[in-house]
Point group: C2
Chain length 233, copies 2
DNA sequence: CGAGAAATTGAAAAGATTCAACTCTCGTGG
DNA sequence: CCACGAGAGTTGAATCTTTTCAATTTCTCG
């Protein structure tokens, strides 16, 4: 078996500072996996067996309440680590990971985490920088949920998606995977009805264009105004 | 100068796994500081010069929006690290730290962070476990803000404070530092008016007792019911 | 004791949800 | 190839929670 090609991960921030030989060693422990849209990579509460890096596609990280309501904690894009419960000192996954589109990922056994970070210190350092960034993101979201109303929160959520996964088209910037009103609602703590109304209003204004499981941002600039609007039109 | 006594920090989780001699070395770089109630330890946006461990008192970590609204990100209790921007790969503080009561803390220069974690690996490991825990907490809060209404959020916030800093009294469990309705509002994303009404209702029910800058939880059990209530009484 | 901060409370208004009905879109199978 | 059905989206009306506005009241510290 010819092993995986180091160029797969060589350019990812998570693996920066590693030599080609080290990458090869690392890949020796990795297992490539494919997930079709809607497939569950791991479920909240599961024993954490692996950590992952996303090579292609988009992953939705979801937390469910005891009452069954879902909240989308974040979207993972290509190159990002996910399922890193081991690095956080947890033995079960605190959230579920679902393929938002066709996905390819590499998985390492969690049992190897300590060994790998000991052998490749920059892997640990990079990971913790990632975790630090996510903590900032989470706090930002708490602030948004505390101080903004739905329209602004939806605007911020869309802008984040545009930056993270936007794909330029003739019309504007399109979110690069199927996303429903319900998904946006679960990202912003609103109902799909309210989200629908907000998007509808923006569409009339020519700021976005919607579609079944599609959102195209026509004017990111004007969307930013909506995101920052302290009241008024 | 006789140096600080290792017993100050020997029992704190952040320093577990360190030898007495190592603690002494560590303390050699630390500077003890006192802050009076309301004093600012560091301000959001400041160049991050130090990281801290709290030896006595309570610290409020606050994020402000451009519009001047404040959100309390978390309370730091005795033994916890704070201001660890360095560990998160940030050069400025993402939030302000304010003494919620008379405080004593130790400060280390951030410049020493890399050196110290290199010399004392368990310090790094402990810190990252802390950060991981805080990421979980932040996500939990996002979920609460998304799915619960004000009364439940206030109940959860109080229960967290009780667990973290509760002091048993004849009447019940008292939050161990001065806390206003406004503070609780900033923890829960509500207005002080709504918080006041909620607390007032609970007081009539005998679940809590309020006072100027004081909250005593008389029946944590019944408060927990409020926190979990999916609608109804 | 007085003054300012903190807390309470009623009434009106706003924002979002809930409920309900209806429409549109797309993929599948006859 | 077209019809059908389920999932996705839209939209009006009623309702509800929370905020906003505006007074007051209460407390505590100096």
């Amino acid at each position: 078996m010819p092993g995986l090609d180091p160029s797969l991960i060589a350019d990812l921030p998570s693996f920066s500072g590693l030599e080609r030989r080290e990458l090869e060693t690392l890949l020796g422990y990795a297992q490539p996996l494919r997930f079709s849209e809607g497939a569950t990579v791991f479920a909240q509460g599961d024993e954490a067996e692996s950590f992952y890096v996303l090579l292609d596609g988009h992953i939705r990280v979801v937390r469910s309440t005891p009452e069954g309501q879902q909240v989308i904690v974040r979207y993972i894009s290509v190159g990002e680590l996910f399922g890193i419960a081991a690095a956080l000192g947890r033995s079960t996954y605190p959230a579920s990971a679902v393929a938002a589109a066709e996905c390819v990922a590499l998985a390492w056994p969690n049992a190897k985490w300590d060994e790998l970070t000991a052998r490749f210190p920059s892997l640990g350092a990079n990971t913790y920088k990632t975790v630090g960034g996510r903590l900032q993101d989470a706090h930002t979201r708490v602030v948004e949920m505390s101080t903004e109303q739905v329209e602004q929160r939806v605007a911020h959520a869309l802008l984040r998606l545009v930056k993270q996964t936007g794909r330029k088209t003739a019309e504007g910037v399109e979110i690069d995977f199927p996303i429903t009103r319900q998904d946006i609602a679960e990202m912003t703590g609103a109902t799909l009805h309210t989200v629908s109304r907000v998007l509808q209003a923006w569409e009339k204004d020519g700021i976005v264009r919607g579609g079944r499981k599609r959102v195209v941002v026509i004017s990111p600039h004007r969307l930013l105004l909506k995101a920052e609007a302290r009241k008024e039109s």
